[in-house]
Symmetry: none
Subunit: 212 residues, 4 copies
DNA sequence: CATGAATGAGAATTCATTCAT
DNA sequence: TATGAATGAATTCTCATTCAT
């Protein structure tokens, strides 16, 4: 199913890699990144050494899990780009990202870190296009910039982190409200959006040291 | 060496408690909850033992710091209640809570936990009144409920956690957008708000185990 | 007995520090630096945490043990300086250093590392004086330099590392031979001695990575 | 896939063995025995499994590398034996052993261990003859015994271990000094040499456990 | 046979909490 | 009562060795 870069892994190794990734994802979702590698290994049914063979650092394991989520988001962005109605495409995109963030709540603290990543840049580029097209139809107010979209994702994170286990749809209503503001507002916004440079730095530097 | 009367002793003890709280607040704001008790003790100019005498658990120390922030939020709510214009009062309140969350970014993961707390109930009650009054003037749409306000606070947390160090005003623009949605939106929201029971559980159960 | 720098330790703490140092010295002598901190702690009758409280790094623990040996060598150098006969003083000094190296064979791989150390500089200065005085009396050949003395110490290390457990006096005979060469030789030496700069770098850089 | 006759198989195996030995030698020389088997396997262009097939233990791999160095030393001893001048032969031998020890500095901790080895016995026998012949010409003092020669090698190890990377010729000057002592000294040595039995035990027991 | 994946004991280090001084 | 010393479980990561493919 999955292909792992240029050098192919043996089938058993690839299966183990998947088991580890899956166990890590589940563990992070349930316990957060503080969970020990040993627990992840146990959950995957392998020894710690095996985890470290595939992911030489806890950091890299986290990154691998996060990368999968990002890839899903990128795919969602692409799918939304194909939508005939730009506005509906944008809306769909926002909800899909919300859903993906919800489904991988354990990854949120790291989801937008590591700005050098190619996938993140893809996502940004597609998002800009989606926004521009929607603005061109007049259905989204003109003073909204891409950085506002990024901020919406971060805000959804805040909601999801709080509500995920108890009110799984809470983020949807919040996104409703935000979308309404994006589409109807006509009072100029009092505060400036993030500059692209700031957004860049946020992605690079934000979040507390995530693992000890 | 010197002997103190019980009153003096109590005063000393209270001073220590304050020094510790202050040091903890500053430490959490700068480093987050991961900081060690030893560092807090040093910053307070006392030994670890003294910290543990006042706060038998790191958990309790965190709670005490969080409670102070909550008290500030309660005060902000009260102040906003006194505003002649209900709408302006609500707006001011939202921005003040935003600012307080920003200033105590290190406490965010725990800020709304611990629902049994009297202060949280006060905040909720006052918030409900503020919202109701603003809705009564017609400036805030009627389908907004208190739980939406709570959700706004959580969403600001998400933004602040990401942007605090890099774009200290980012949350303000996000709040602009949200307020516009609250005040002007006239399309019915597609998703239901949190029920009060859900909001209650969110406060009680949300957030990851904060300390290892 | 021992004084531990400016801030005094509590008596129990100081005792523990001594116990740890003693256990470390014994452990290193028996097992080398590869021994685990846990074993040292056990031998000292304390927990690992206690070892790390006094010596935040294994490296620092090793350094502390080594420093004690260096101090003894410095004292030996000073004592030898007071000898009325410069030649006998030098001889005595060489044998004392040999004995100290023998008695702390476990420290040899690290004994002369860390060239910035004040004690090492003292030792070097005193050694130079001892040599110069002995040469002034004509009993030591003039083309010998301080770096040759350092090299003698290193060569004794090689002998001691091999023979310590089996032939505890082997290094003495080797030193006999070397001293004879220093005192009687009149054929010019074919190879140049280390330059002081080289000797400096040796002290700074020599030895393989000692701990894993 | 291809089928080989047994001869070809053996040749392949031998080639592998040589590649591994060569890689191990180079690795030990550069990094010491602490280097991992995986790195050696990679350098040899084979898998770890293959290394373990040829050398069931890291210990045995080390021994094999050391044996090669010993063989070189034996050859040097033989070559020196053929020298017309016994004294020059001995001198040449000492310098050659010094050079070999320098070139295989990574092997020093194990070079003289493993006394049961036939090659070591050869070396010893030839060395004794060399020494006896040189003493017969009167150019080497009579109270020098074979064990003093062994001790010289160990002492060179000490010098080389310290200076190899920084002052590659340091050991030569040290050997100069020692040779002068051997050839000119006429004051009786104060300490007895190693007995042959001690020297034997040194070879068998000396040196720390080399691998963890 | 060769490969390299898997294993798991062990090593250094941290930190919340307890307790002797 | 204040202090900070002691504790030890837990965490990340390494590496010699075994074994399925």
């Amino acid at each position: 199913m999955t292909s792992y870069g240029s050098r192919a892994l043996r089938r058993d190794a690839a299966e183990n890699r998947d088991k580890i990734l899956e166990a890590a994802r589940a563990s992070f979702d349930e316990e957060g990144f503080e969970i020990g590698i040993e627990a992840i290994a146990q959950r995957a049914g392998v020894g710690v050494g095996t985890v470290y063979r595939r992911f030489p650092t806890k950091e890299l394991l986290i990154a691998a899990v996060v990368d999968e989520v990002l890839a899903a988001i990128r795919d969602a962005a692409l799918a939304a780009s194909g939508h005939e109605s730009a506005t509906e495409g944008l809306t769909e995109y926002l909800f899909t990202v919300g859903r993906l963030q919800f489904e991988h709540a354990g990854c949120l603290p790291r989801l937008w870190n590591g700005a050098d990543d190619a996938v993140r840049r893809e996502i940004e580029a597609i998002s800009r296009q989606l926004l521009a097209k929607a603005q061109a139809t007049g259905s989204v107010r003109g003073d909204v910039v891409y950085e506002d979209i990024a901020t919406i994702f971060w805000s959804l994170q805040g909601v999801i982190e709080r509500t995920a286990t108890v009110a799984p749809d809470a983020w949807k209503r919040h996104l409703d409200i935000l979308i309404q503001a994006l589409t109807q507002g006509d009072i100029p916004l009092a505060h400036a959006p993030l500059t692209p440079q700031q957004a860049e730095r946020v992605k690079r530097e934000s979040g507390r040291g995530v693992i000890s």
